[in-house]
């Protein structure tokens, strides 16, 4: 019984954590380049909506994924323009964008489905890695959705890009000390826009993973704070890809536990499990007082020539 419980827990944690992971990696990309991406909640919503919509139109979940990605990029670019070119307060504009996207997605639910919302569209199937999936407990890892495999594959890929390429190095320089980067001829503005676009791709993917990857339907408010969780994952994960992955899984575990605890009659109220990742974020923030963990120039608009 315990084995199936743990197996079920892992399965649930991965399923719930995967979209958060993708979005968290997106937030990470922006953060590394100096942009606070607070709009992930909205970006994820757009990705989720258009993922389902694309699959509805064509019957092909991959087209849905593509549409979700495009929508995510479009939404994130609004944040990008406001943060990089217009140079407003990145957090406040992120919050506004979230409202906008949430409202837009609800609105489009009636506008885009004149014949009523379908209960399900074509989603992604589970792909089993053969005999590996028979292993007790961890076999679950090998019987996942395509998007989950993609999400996990993203972690080493992004780690490679950020840490082991010159592209990643210039990206990080733009987030830490943009004036130094500028003095060496690096185009900080261009780099930040590229980061925003990549972040939008990941965010859109995360949204599509949420809708297409699970119930294959879009419901109003289905994102339910996962965008903010993704942002917290960056803080908890200490601004590294592997950390973000683990933090996202932590959120997944917390949410899985929340459901299961009551079923097995544990005395701790489920809400405390749900609360835990948020409390953890606050604790981590307080614990790194005096030392900035994130990129130093994060959140500050880049104005050329200003010291």
């Amino acid at each position: 019984m315990a084995i199936s419980f743990i197996g079920g827990l892992i399965e649930s944690a991965i399923r719930t954590g995967c979209p958060i992971m993708l979005c968290g990696l997106g937030c990470l990309f922006c953060a590394k380049c100096g942009i606070i991406n607070f709009a992930m909640e909205g970006v994820m919503t757009m990705g989720a909506f258009f993922g389902v919509y694309g699959s509805y139109l064509t019957g092909n979940p991959w087209i849905g994924l593509l549409m979700g990605i495009v929508a995510g990029v479009a939404a994130n670019l609004i944040l990008g323009v406001m943060a990089i070119t217009v140079k407003v307060n990145q957090v406040v504009v992120g919050a506004g964008l979230n409202s906008l996207c949430l409202g837009l997605s609800s609105y489009l639910l009636t506008a885009c489905y004149p014949n009523g919302v379908p209960t399900q569209v074509n989603g992604f199937n589970y792909i089993s890695a053969g005999s590996l999936s028979e292993i007790p407990i961890f076999g679950v890892l090998f019987n996942q959705q395509v998007l989950t495999y993609i999400a996990f594959a993203m972690v080493p890929l992004i780690a490679y890009v950020i840490n082991k390429t010159s592209f990643g190095m210039t990206l990080r320089a733009c987030g830490e000390q943009p004036h130094a980067a500028d003095s060496l001829g690096i185009n900080v503005v261009k780099k930040r826009y590229i980061a925003v676009i990549i972040s939008g791709v990941l965010g859109g993917m995360g949204g599509a993973a949420l809708s297409l990857g699970q119930l294959s339907v879009f419901t109003i408010g289905m994102v339910a704070g996962r965008g903010y969780m993704a942002w917290s994952a960056v803080t908890i994960g200490r601004y590294g890809p592997v950390g973000v992955m683990l933090a996202a899984l932590l959120f997944g575990v917390a949410s899985a536990l929340q459901v299961r605890m009551k079923a097995i009659g544990v005395a701790i109220p489920s809400q405390f499990f749900s609360m835990f990742p948020y409390v953890l974020t606050m604790i981590i923030l307080a614990s790194v007082v005096g030392r900035t963990v994130g990129p130093k120039a994060m959140g500050k608009p880049f104005i050329k020539g200003e010291r």
């Binding site: 890009v161 082991k164 390429t165 830490e176």
Partner: protein
């Protein structure tokens, strides 16, 4: 016709109404160390920023090895073989030395090849005997080591000409020696160096030739070996006398301020105060001369309680004020005219009325019974002060932001001088002001002195200090280099002190 590696001809650079560079000519021979000497605001850094492509000149041309060059941005400058080490290092602190050196040279998704650059950089370090651990994080390095990273960075990109902006400002004496050894090695290998400085002794030690700028204009270029420090000092400081005031004698022998042997940490070692002691008598104006960045800001802040002191004591009017809060000091009668009027002195988006009461809004008649704030009382007060100090436009409801610099300063003066202060700390009070506005400030300070207040005038404008102060202390690297009474000392000697040469009182008077 001499063979110069670099020629800057008739360079002109204007910012609004300020001419930072007025037809400057500079030439550089291969293998020489050429010093660019001048006070604050002389135009040295501007000129080099033009050379490095950070600014575009409004006139003039640049020739490298005889060929005309257009340098639009730092990338062009680097390509042309020019490297610059700025006063504020352009390094990414969280990255390693090696990463900082190769940053920006490539920008692709290929796996970063650190092996080849590592070999090359190691070779470079060995050539010049840099002791650098190229895998350590820049933030872990000493300031001197960080500077060496900047040098290697420039060399790695093929710099033949190196520009160093006030390189010794952040170094300890040991590190300065190490730097000079390195510079000599560069020269031995055919590099050419321009070093911006205001320190005479180092210019004399390390440079072959020296170009002196003053107020944006070229004073002259000399062979360092042909001149004495005193000659360079007079070129740098000049003999312009624009202000002339009648000063009343000091009435009292009582001190209003007594500073005893204070040690205060500044941003860097040059601005850290080291066992500083002095006093100000009632009715005396004491001037602190010196190039900006030598501890003046630190001194002003510690006297106001905005920065803590490590050791020593401060006595105001006989009372120990060492640990008193800023608010209390203001209440006791110390007034503060801060260096930066826009960030420290005024709230730009407040009206003039609101700015006048920034330190006294809780007092009657502005606030009664501790909770009622009376805008009318504030307005009346604001109107009165605005008229009295001739602030233009004569509208106390205007926003501080909409005023010119001179008028903004008047607002600050009005606030700080209207409370009958016993001690006034004035930091660069006429910075950015024209002659008329400056004279107004001086008159007000002199009037306060006549009424028995002590004044500490900190200024980089020597003219002003000599005209206004009863007594002058020259500050350099957090210490006093000498003390004199205006009129009893030559300009050269003052320049020498500002450039770091210690003088005692007797020698100065000679």
């Amino acid at each position: 016709m001499e063979d110069f590696i670099l020629e800057m001809k008739d360079i002109k650079k204007v910012f609004g109404s300020l001419t930072a560079n007025d037809s400057i000519n500079l030439n550089l021979r291969r293998g020489e160390v050429h010093a660019l000497l001048g006070e604050n605001g002389a135009g040295k850094t501007t000129l080099m920023n033009v050379l490095y492509g950070i600014y575009q000149p409004d006139g003039g041309e640049i020739y490298l090895k005889g060929k005309k060059f257009k340098i639009d941005n730092p990338r062009d400058a680097i390509k042309a073989g020019i490297g610059m080490v700025h006063q504020h290092f352009m390094l990414v602190p969280t990255m390693t030395v090696l990463e900082n050196i190769i940053l920006g040279l490539s920008d692709n998704l290929k796996k970063l090849d650190l092996k080849t650059p590592r070999e090359e950089v190691k070779k470079l370090c060995d050539t010049y005997n840099f002791q650098l651990d190229i895998d350590s994080k820049v933030s872990d390095l000493s300031v001197g080591a960080q500077q060496r990273v900047e040098l290697v960075k420039a060399l790695y990109r093929g710099a033949e000409i190196l520009i160093l902006d006030e390189p010794t400002a952040v170094l300890t004496p040991n590190e300065v020696e190490e730097l000079f050894v390195i510079l000599r090695q560069f020269v031995a290998r055919g590099k050419s160096i321009i070093i911006i400085s205001h320190k005479l002794w180092e210019v004399k030690r390390i440079s072959n030739r020296c170009t002196v700028l003053r107020n944006g204009k070229l004073v002259g270029t000399v062979n360092t070996s042909d001149v004495e420090e005193s000659d360079m000092a007079s070129m740098m400081v000049g003999k312009k006398v624009t202000f002339k005031y009648d000063k009343t004698p000091i009435l009292s022998q009582d001190s209003i301020l007594n500073v005893e042997s204070i040690n205060v940490l500044g941003h860097n070692q040059a601005s850290t105060l080291k066992k500083l002691s002095f006093d100000i008598k009632k009715g005396e104006i004491v001037g602190i001369a010196g190039v900006d960045g030598n501890g003046q800001q630190t001194l002003g802040e510690v006297l106001m309680g905005l920065t803590p002191l490590e050791e020593g004591k401060i006595y105001f009017n006989g009372q120990d004020t060492t640990n008193v809060s800023t608010r209390q000091r203001l209440k006791k009668g110390i007034s503060y005219i801060p260096e930066d009027r826009m960030t420290q002195g005024l709230v730009m988006d407040f009206t003039l009325c609101e700015n006048y009461i920034l330190d006294r809004y809780e007092k009657e008649p502005f606030t009664t019974k501790k909770i009622f704030y009376h805008s009318k009382a504030v307005k009346d007060y604001g109107d009165a002060l605005t008229s009295e100090y001739g602030v233009r436009p004569n509208d106390a409801d205007a926003f501080a932001r909409s005023l010119s610099g001179g008028n903004q300063q008047k607002v600050i003066l009005a606030r700080e001088l209207s409370n009958s202060p016993k001690l006034i700390i004035a930091m660069q009070p006429t910075r950015g002001l024209d002659i008329g506005a400056s004279e107004f400030v001086h008159q007000k300070l002199l009037k306060a002195k006549e009424e028995g207040a002590g004044v500490l005038l900190i200024s980089a404008d020597l003219d002003e200090i000599l005209a206004v102060a009863d007594r002058v202390l020259v500050m350099n690297e957090g210490r006093f280099m000498g003390e004199f009474v205006p009129g009893e000392i030559t300009f050269e000697k003052i320049g020498l002190m500002m450039g770091g040469m210690v003088q005692d009182k007797e020698e100065a008077k000679a």
